[in-house]
Subunit: 183 residues, 2 copies
């Protein structure tokens, strides 16, 4: 008698989708390797902790989206994961989801800019300048094992963000006097 597989009756979470995609890039990978992908990513949004990835892989296996192969490296046991056919399809569905891909996500700077008027007026310009500095610092890549294409992608993001910051410096003046009534 076969163990029943759970059915996927919800869209993949973004972490699940991104993990499947990372697995697709590797072909085969251990949970440890996948966790490391997130740890070494320039975005710190996902920690890539064991507590996130190991249960997640178990979940995906239960859903029949990944298959585990008990392998060894030397005498050390390990599980090599790979995508199933359905897993590959699920990953593509997640990847090509225009609705979700065009969302605004979470932007810690945008969230704060909305309330810039609450910041002491004298600090606003230096605040933005510091952000720009920090952002430029990220151009010099800290994450290892990246293809030139990924590097270019990363830099283009930084570049776009710096351009936005330039725009913002113009807006500071516009933001400044308008809302000082609130407190």
């Amino acid at each position: 008698m076969k163990v029943l597989q759970s059915k996927l009756n919800r869209p993949l979470s973004d972490l699940e989708g991104a993990t499947l995609a990372a697995l697709a890039q590797h072909g085969e990978a251990t949970s440890y390797q996948l966790a490391n992908d997130f740890k070494s990513s320039p975005s710190e949004f996902w920690s890539g902790s064991a507590g996130a990835i190991y249960p997640l892989m178990a979940r995906l296996a239960d859903l029949g989206l990944v298959e585990g192969k008990a392998g060894r490296k030397g005498t050390r046991a390990r599980v090599l994961w790979s995508l199933s056919k359905r897993g590959y399809e699920a990953m593509l569905t997640w990847l090509t989801d225009v609705e979700r891909a065009s969302g605004m996500g979470f932007d810690p700077l945008r969230t704060r800019m909305v309330h810039l008027n609450l910041m002491p007026e004298a600090k606003r310009a230096t605040f933005l300048a510091s952000i720009a500095d920090k952002t430029k610092g990220k151009k010099v890549v800290q994450f290892p094992s990246d293809s030139p294409a990924l590097q270019a992608l990363h830099e283009s993001w930084i570049f776009a963000r710096l351009a936005w910051l330039d725009q913002l410096e113009g807006l500071v003046v516009l933001l400044s006097p308008t809302n000082d009534s609130a407190r």
Copy 2:
């Protein structure tokens, strides 16, 4: 004997910070109003559900960052929140946190672009075009009660994003052939 207040031994979560900031903008507000701020925000990252905001306000009150005033509108009872002195300081600390403000956050498009090579080559260009379309659609604002400054801020974000998308179209060609080895 006074009820002891909990102490804040961790940084404010971004939702907590943003809520305090929203409250600062209002001066006084009910939890319902604050929840609505998030509901009507162009970013869908936070739902602004009652289940999020009501317990959050209770938490902030317990921390002594907000003070509730039992008010009424007609015969209908309601709690009007306002920032305490410490709450205002905590909000400013959150608002001016350069480290966090310069983080990359979560970007659903960036997350996917990293894996664009997994997308069928024929779909890539149309995918990006759809995203650009959807993004342009957001310029026409759906959220109510916005000041011209907030509108300008929102538009500048959209503008920057569209510029990035332009860049990406150039990168598609670069991304295309490189990584097709993986599966």
